[in-house]
């Protein structure tokens, strides 16, 4: 039996990352994987890197990491709304200015995907989707036939992604699974301040998926963000658990569940 902890979208939330790593260590997981987007949204982006290195977290590249590493002018987040893009710009510019050259270079060394084979189960880890780093795989717009197509193409039994900011799990026929592992960076638009990571337990070709809530000192993070003069809209999300930005990319079901 092997147990893996997976998360994505740290968004510079070093406090939630530390809490999640502690929790995973307490549970005695065999390995920890980060599915990308280390920066964005939160304060002091360089604080995330030593935590990942210290815990030996195997990390793949998200669109944010790719942009920072290549010095691109934007985060390739895939937003389409002018207001969303306005906030994405503030966030990217702050993160770009405050990420060291050494850490940017390290982001450039990360692989885009990672393949694992554990007890005969073939896993593929990707940021957005296996075919596109910034493709959004939302629960309500990722039908079974489409997910089976992605698994066929990837020659995988289990696909793990992040990028959307909201976790979900779809078991499929033939012991296949697609898991959006969620994000540590910000709460997932459900009105609570906790964030989430995913535990995968693989035992004799069977896969068990558990989502683990992470409670962390979100008020301290909000204070960090205030000290760095990050937008009040971002801080509101950390404190209330409701998204205030990046809303226009949400499909109907996910949007209707939120408050804004």
């Amino acid at each position: 039996m092997q147990r893996l902890a997976l998360f994505g979208g740290i968004y510079s939330n070093h406090r939630a990352l530390a809490a999640a790593l502690d929790d995973a260590a307490r549970r005695g997981v065999d390995a920890v994987y980060c599915l990308g987007d280390l920066g964005a949204f939160g304060p002091y982006p360089d604080r995330v890197f030593p935590l990942l290195r210290r815990s030996g977290v195997q990390t793949i590249q998200g669109n944010y990491d790719n942009s920072l590493a290549l010095g691109l002018p934007d985060c390739q987040c895939g937003y389409t709304d002018p207001r969303d893009n306005h906030f994405a710009r503030l966030s990217y510019d702050y993160t770009f200015r405050n990420t060291s050259a050494e850490n940017k270079a390290w982001l450039g060394t990360l692989p885009a995907t990672l393949r694992l084979e554990i007890e005969g189960v073939r896993l593929l880890l990707a940021h957005g989707s296996p075919r596109k780093m910034n493709e959004f795989l939302w629960e309500s717009t990722s039908p079974d036939p489409f997910l089976n197509y992605l698994l066929d193409e990837a020659q995988a039994d289990v696909l793990c992604v992040t990028h959307t900011g909201i976790k979900w799990h779809r078991p499929l026929a033939g012991s296949r699974h697609v898991v959006n592992v969620g994000v540590l960076g910000r709460p997932e638009n459900e009105g609570t301040t906790r964030v989430w990571y995913t535990l995968l337990t693989i035992s004799r070709a069977s896969v068990d998926v558990e989502f683990v809530p992470v409670v962390y000192d979100h008020l301290a993070l909000a204070a960090d963000m205030q000290a760095e003069r990050l937008p009040p809209e971002f801080i509101e999300t950390i404190v209330t658990g409701w998204w205030t930005t990046c809303l226009e990319i949400l499909p109907h079901k996910e949007r209707a569940r939120g408050q804004f």
Binding site: L70, P143, P251
Partner: protein, 306 residues
């Protein structure tokens, strides 16, 4: 001239021109010239739709779209939306004038029971009643606002789609203007999507020659992700066969087969409207690949695999 050829990478988006070109309105910018007497294309039957949904599912379809004409002229539109949601996330593009309380109830019930998202895209062209109705027809503004209120009261959040017909000078006031009138109508968290006008159909008449889109060349496609073009990820089913994309249904060369199963061949970008798609990305989908499109992203060597 040799046009770039785009292969179908994967059928992400399956479209149905469910009511052909029959519409109760005749908007001045309509790219496929739909209207009350326009029978270039006819209605699809629920059986024909289901057959192609099943074929789409075999191909791993992600999103299904119902367009026309006006889809709510079809008496069985609700059943077809319900069937489609068994297979994939589903969007219906409507002018919003035919959704009464009973239909709104039905749509809300369908949405509640579906695993996947149902999107209702309602067209509106200005937050000013007179400007809107000059494009879409007398009285349309008030009927659409009533529909938007009706849907939002039932927990449906329609995507209000707006074709870009204003001048650069007016740009700043457009979004706030729409937000204001939609909130006034009782839609407290309005979703708005802006679409480019297409140099096709009745819009060509409106433009009266004042447009200068070039063709897309092979050189322009260098370093560009073809996924930003509809033809690499979409097909549209009509009662007269399957076309490469919703924009080109009036172009005979864009008809690729009788059925979805034989419409997977590639397509050459032989029309000026292909440049609009190139310029703005796959704007026909609910979430664009990028509002600035392939043209704006085309710095070769700078593009990552993302």
């Amino acid at each position: 001239m040799k046009y770039p050829r785009i292969e179908l990478a994967h059928l992400d988006n399956l479209w149905f021109q469910v009511t052909g070109t029959l519409c109760n309105l005749a908007c001045t910018h309509c790219f496929n010239s739909s209207g009350p007497d326009v029978k270039t294309f006819g209605f699809l039957s629920p059986d024909a739709v289901r057959r192609e949904l099943e074929e789409g599912a075999r191909r791993g379809v992600r999103d299904v779209f119902f367009t026309g004409g006006e889809p709510f002229l079809h008496t069985q539109i609700a059943e077809m939306l319900e069937a489609s949601l068994e297979f994939a996330a589903t969007t219906v593009l409507t002018n919003g004038t035919l959704i009464n309380d009973r239909m709104a109830d039905r749509l809300a019930a369908i949405e509640r029971h579906a695993r996947y998202s149902l999107e209702v895209r309602v067209s509106l062209d200005s937050f000013d009643e007179g400007t809107n109705d000059a494009i879409r027809g007398a009285g349309v503004f008030q009927r659409v606002m009533a529909t938007v209120a009706r849907l939002s009261r039932r927990g449906l959040l329609p995507l209000v789609t707006v074709v870009h017909t204003w001048s650069d000078a007016e740009e700043q006031e457009i979004l706030p203007g729409f937000v204001r009138i939609l909130r006034q109508a009782g839609y407290d968290r309005p979703r708005i999507k802006i679409l480019p006008a297409l140099p096709l159909g009745r819009e060509l008449v409106r433009l009266a020659g004042a447009h200068d889109e070039p063709w897309v060349t092979e050189e322009m496609m260098q370093g560009v992700d073809p996924d930003l073009l509809m033809c690499s990820n979409s097909r549209i089913v009509t009662d007269r066969g399957v076309w490469v994309c919703p924009l080109l249904v009036e172009k005979p060369d864009a008809r690729l087969g009788d059925h979805l199963a034989d419409a997977a061949s590639g397509y050459e970008l032989a029309h000026r409207a292909c440049f609009t798609c190139y310029q703005y990305g796959t704007f026909c989908s609910n979430v664009n690949a990028g509002i600035e499109g392939a043209g704006a992203l085309a710095a070769p060597g700078e593009r990552s695999e993302a």
